[in-house]
Every structure is written in C-alpha cells, then in structure tokens.
Amino acid sequence: MASGIALRDVSRTFVSRGQTTEALRSVSLDCAPGSFTALIGPSGCGKSTILRLCLGLDTANAGTVTVDDLPPAEATRKGITGVAFQDAALLPWRTVEKNIALPLDVLGLSLGDYRERIAELIALVGLNGFEKALPAELSGGMRQRVAIARSLVTTPRVLFLDEPFGALDQILRKQMNIELQRIWMETQATTLLVTHGIDEAVFLADRVVVMASRPGRISRIIEIDLPRPRDPALFNQEHFHALERQVSEALDGH
C-alpha cells in the first residue's frame, strides 16, 4: 500500500555560532494517499523544515522520510511531487507559460507533450490572456496563482504548499482557498499545506496538525469532519468556529 507522506522519528538540529537549535525532535506523521493535511504552528516550530525534508532540500539528522514510499530525493526526481512557496519564486525573465513549464525543464520532460496541460492550468487558475506576460506585469495574487499552476504542471501525486497565500490579502486569500479546494478535489493529490491561518487550515484540510516549538514537535492532531465540497458559507457556521477554537486552543498549549 502506498503511504503518501510518512515521517518516522525525524529529528533535525541546526548548529550556528555554537548554539544548537532543535528544529524537530522525533516527529512522526503519516499522510494517507489523497489526504489533505495542514501543518500549523508558531514561527520556528519546524513546519517548513518538515516540508524541506520531504522535498529533499534538507536532510534529517535521524529518522526516515518517505514520499510515496520513496526517499525524497528519488521521489522529486521522478516528478511525483509538486511545490509552491510563500513567495511565488517566479523567474523574472520567463513568461507565465515558461514559468509554469520550469519543472518540466528541470525533469527533462518534453514541453511539446505538455502544451495542452499548461493551457488547462492557466485556465484553471484564471490567467487566460496572460500566457505571454512577464511576472513584473502581474499583481501579487496573479503571481501566486502562476506558482500554484507551476506546482500542478507535472500532475503530482504529492503536493507541498508552503504558506502559498501568506503574502495575499484576506479577501484574495479566501478566493484562492476555494480555488485550491476545487483543484485538489480534481487531482486527488496527497497534499501537505504549511500555513499560519487557522481558518485556512480548517477550511481546506482533512486533518490539522498543530505544532509547538523549542523543540519543534507535533502537539496535537485535529480531525476536520466537515463534508466536501466545502463552500464559503462555511466560514460563518458554528461548527466551523468550534473547530477553529480547538486549533487555536491547541496552539496556545491547552
């Protein structure tokens, strides 16, 4: 059985100027295939470190990390994963289309086979007509949508999102959340979302993983039992607020 994302007793410490920081202390986490998990916690709790470990951008001091039963480096090289970061991290000299195609270039895939896919993705994130635009000509929200489209171009089985809407205003962010849910339901990718927003986590995730810092660890896992598709009216429901309160209390250490 495929495992989605699995962390087993993962520890990561950083040493700088003689000081040791425990970014993660024996963290274990399983994300079932097709599930949506949100990681939430105070700054420095190691949530981004988990994501970097899963992407092979960093290596653990102890424990194992697997993505679709493969070591991260292998999974990423096979094109199983997709990623979007907080800042869009677009290449300023590439057009929207070419930015979306960057993972294909890195993976050595033929662009010709993906023309339709890229057009679909541009439509999906609502950027029709901006195919040839440069990032400098786009608004912040549009750039972020390009980054989302880029993360989906390889049709990843596992998707990593590191505060992808962190830099957007509240209104835009809600819109993007609704779009992201739609995209996720279409693709059924195992998704790990790192976020600061409690509402965002509850709205999108099957499970909210609450983390604590010093040392970075998982303090509580809250199941979100809201039915899908979830719609914006949910933001005003009592049950939604109750779940938000649970997460909030877990963050405060209760």
Partner: protein, 524 residues
C-alpha cells in the same frame, strides 16, 4: 529657471562644454607648463594631421586588448562558476586571485616580454586585467540569485548544474555584464602597459612612448584621447547591453573581494591545508608555466632560481642593496599618494551630504574617468608636471582618487535618509549628522575603496618612476631591462606583487576587525 531642473544628460553636456571651454582658453594662452596642455582645437587638428599613423597602432592595441578580453573573461566566467558551485575551490584559489588582482601590470610586463613573444604579452596582460573583475562579478551574480527559485529547481530533483542552468546564470547575467563593462577599459590598459614594456612596432602604447621623447604635447593628447575613446566605447557598449537585458540599476564599481562561503567549520588541519595550498598555488603556477613554456633558465627565474639570485650568489648583496634602496624610494611615495588620494575622495564624498549639488555635477566627470585607461595616460602628466617627485604624487593621487570617490560616493548614496533624519530630528547640525551617521556608515566603502586602490597606487608610482623620475622600483625595472639583469627584473616583479598582496591583506584584516566590531558587513 534654474539649471538644477535640467535633465541629467543636459547638465552633463553643459559641464562638458564648460570644461572644454576652459581647456581651450587655458591652452590658447599656454597657461599650464608653457604649452604642455595644448587647447582641444590644436589636439584635434594634430589628430587629423596624424591620422595616417593611427590605423595600424589602433589595430595592434585593439588586437591585444580584444583577444585578451576574450580569453580573460572566458577564464574568469569559468572560474567564477567553479568558485560559486564549489566554494572550497574559491578558498584554495584565493592566493592566486588576490595576486592577480594586486599585481602591478607594469612590473610583470618586462617578464612577459622576455618569456613570451609577439602579441602574447599584451594578450596576457589584457586578460589579467579582465580576470578579477569578471570573476568576482560572476561569483557575486551567481550566489545572489533568488534562493527560493533555486529551491524550486532543487525541489524537482535538480542539482547544482540544473540550478545554474535554469536560475543562476540568467540572474547573474546583468552583474557579469557590468563586470565586463569595467573589464573593457582594463583590457585596453593592459595592452598599452605591455606595449610600454617593450616589443613590437605598433600599438598606441608604443606610439605614446615614442612621442613622449619628442615633446609634442598635442600628439600625446591625441593618442590619449583615442585610447580613452576605445575604452569608453567598449564600456558603453556593455553598459547598453546590460541595460537592455536588465532595466534595473547596477553599481558602477565592482566588488573587489571574493565571497567566502558560510559553510560548516572545518577542523583546524583542513583549514591550515587550505591556507597553505592557497599560498602555494601562485608559486606552483609560476614554476609550472616556466617549465611548460621551456624558457631558458638564464632568462626565466624559477622560485629557487630567484632565491639563489637574491641570497646565495656572490652578487647577492649588491642586488639586495639595489632592491632595498629602490623600495625606500617607492614605498613612501605609494603610501603618501594613496593616503592623499583616499583622503581627498573621502572628504569630497562626505561633502556630498552637505552640498549635494556640487557632487552631482562632479559625479559624471568621475564616472567618465572609470572608462579611461588612466594609468596609460601618465605620459601626459609627465609632460605637464615635469620629471620631479611631484609628478609621482600627482599620478598616484589621480589614479587612486577617482575610483575611491566613485566607490564612496555611491556607498553614501545608500545610507537611508531615515538614518540621517533621526539625529536631525533631535536638532543635530550637519557636522554632528556627519559624525554620527555618515562617517560610520561610509566606513565599509572606505575599506572597499582602499582595497581597490592599493594596487593602483603602486602601479601609478612605478609607471611614473619608469617614465619620468628615474627613481625607485619602476626605474630599477627599466634599468635592469637595459642591463639584461634578468634576476633583478624577476626580483622587482615578485617583490612588487608581494608588497601589493601584503598591503591588500593588511587592509582586509583591519577591515574585518573594524567592521566586525561595529557589526557591519563589508561592502562588495
């Protein structure tokens, strides 16, 4: 309506016109050194009259500078990529890089003429002039690429080379191009200095040197203008290219230190090994190159050969005496000239905080000097200032002043207005503001400027000594060429490179201590 409302280029043109006018008047009435500064009209007329001579001289210099520019920059970019991708290599090569940056080209020009033939000395010196600037620009450009974009590439399993290919090289391109912009005048300068060192019938340097003895100021000025024109053309061509590729702004000066990578601390023995190989590398390369070129050992001194010449042979004490006497003449001049040049530049840059308009008007002039192969124009100064010790000081001050001023003035422009306004808000006068904010804020740029000017000052002094005063290391080098005293040629070359590297290292150490204590980062 005030001139201050005119666009920048219009004010620059006005300034240029004013300078030309004053020059014309001064020249017409022979106000400077009884005619050593001819009016621009006379220079132009002479240029037209001599035009028949120029094509072959220009072609020869262009050939040396062009081929050197190509080779030097190719090597520099390749080295920069290597250093950026594998920081350990940059630490091993540090000794070599600093030596190449600090070596006074005039000192090794006779050696190159002895060991190589035809155009090779010019090509090598032009290439050396390009190497450090472009290499540093490449390293800085590659390492300052957007880390997040690099992460995206790595998150898809891309390694160093993929990151280089898809992100880093393109984002480094503007920085590399602005490096090439500075490298272009350096290549022209290198070629001309090699021509001073002898060999060949053609070249602007040959022409300049040949005309120096004949006391024809208008011709000398013409040659100087043509050399500057070539360098300026190359400078602006690359500036335009960089502008087209990146509509952003670039610094005019180029960082003069290799970035050190912040990787994990290594055990002491590894550190020691790296430093030792860094020091040994330039000497090893010197040895290997001589072996590869198969230069007769009479002419080409290897490191042990030079040691023998300076310490073991019966003539060693005489050689030592000559060398020390020359050093005693050259070093004080270098230090005084450098300190004066830097002090002037510092004072003028600081005064930009008090009288911004004056400096804004002067800045274009200073920027233009960045495109001049300034040191190559020494014969002009010799003509105007005669052959006394004063000429040494003037040359040294002028070759250190301009680059130092540009570095510091541009650095001071980066001091945030808010920082200046905090003391002002508490009623501090302009001098208190300078003392509290501007002076400390400009320290990193003062150090950067000092590092930049150390080799130039020594180069300026040596050229002046060679061409004009007949004293010091420059003269010893020139004399030894005449006597075919090969040991002494090598000794002067090696000693002047070592002195330059030593000065540079002292500045680096003082800089690290001072800025470290103040919690400031060194300016690149």
């Amino acid at each position: 309506m005030g001139i201050s409302h005119w666009p920048g280029w219009a004010r620059a043109l006005l300034n240029l016109a004013l300078v030309l006018l004053v020059w014309e008047v001064v020249g017409q009435f022979q106000l400077v050194a009884s005619g050593a500064l001819p009016p621009p009209s006379a220079v132009l007329l002479r240029l037209v009259a001599d035009w028949y001579d120029y094509p072959e001289h220009i072609a020869a210099t262009l050939y040396g500078a062009g081929v050197g520019f190509l080779i030097g920059n190719l090597v520099a970019v390749a080295a920069g990529v290597l250093f950026a991708l594998y920081p350990i290599t940059s630490r091993v090569a540090r000794g070599l890089n600093v030596a190449i940056f600090a070596l006074p080209p005039i000192a090794i020009s006779p050696i190159l003429v002895l060991t190589l033939s035809d155009m090779a000395p010019r090509i090598v010196l032009a290439a050396l002039g390009c190497y450090f600037v472009t290499m540093t620009a490449t390293v800085v450009g590659l390492t300052q690429a957007d880390a997040r974009a690099v992460d995206v590439v790595r998150a898809y399993g891309g390694r160093k080379w993929a990151a280089l290919r898809f992100v880093q090289w393109r984002s480094a391109l503007p920085t590399i191009l602005s490096g090439l912009r500075i490298a272009a005048p350096n290549a022209v300068l290198g070629s001309i200095l090699a021509e001073f060192g002898g060999g060949g019938r053609w070249g602007l340097g040959v022409y300049l040197l040949g005309s120096l003895g004949r006391a024809e100021p208008d011709r000398l000025w013409g040659i100087g203008l043509v050399a500057t024109g070539i360098a300026a053309l190359a400078y602006f061509a690359f500036a335009a290219l960089a502008g087209a590729i990146n509509r952003g702004s670039q610094a005019v000066t180029v960082p003069s230190a290799v970035l050190s990578a912040g990787d994990k601390p290594r055990p002491a023995w590894q550190q020691a090994l790296i430093i030792a190989s860094s020091v040994a590398l330039p000497f090893a390369l010197w040895w290997v190159l001589l072996a590869v070129l198969r230069v007769p050992s009479m002419i080409a001194k290897t490191p042990p050969g030079l040691f023998e010449y300076l310490f073991l042979l019966p003539s060693a004490p005489i050689a030592q005496g000559k060398l020390l006497a020359a050093l005693a003449q050259t070093l004080p001049m270098t230090l005084i000239g450098m300190v004066l040049g830097l002090a002037l530049a510092f004072a003028l840059a600081l005064s930009s905080q008090i009288w911004p308009a004056i400096v804004r008007a002067f800045m274009p002039v200073a920027l233009v000097t960045q495109t001049m192969p300034l040191v190559a124009l020494t014969p002009l100064l010799v003509l105007m200032l005669g052959r006394g010790p004063a000429v040494i000081l003037w040359i040294t001050i002028s070759v250190t002043f301009f680059p130092a001023f540009v570095t510091m003035a541009q650095g001071l422009l980066q001091v945030p207005r808010a920082a200046l306004e905090v003391p002002k808000a508490y009623g501090a006068g302009i001098y208190k503001q300078l003392r509290l904010v501007s002076v400390p804020a400009s320290l990193p740029y003062l150090f950067a400027a000092t590092r930049l000017t150390v080799p130039r000052a020594l180069l300026g002094v040596m050229i002046a000594e060679w061409l004009a005063t007949g004293t010091g290391l420059g003269n010893l080098l020139n004399q030894s060429r005449g006597y075919m005293d090969y040991g002494m040629i090598w000794a002067v070359a090696v000693v002047s490179v070592l002195i330059s590297v030593l000065f540079y290292q002292i500045v680096v150490v003082v800089e690290r201590r001072t800025l470290g204590r103040l919690g400031m980062a060194s300016a690149e």
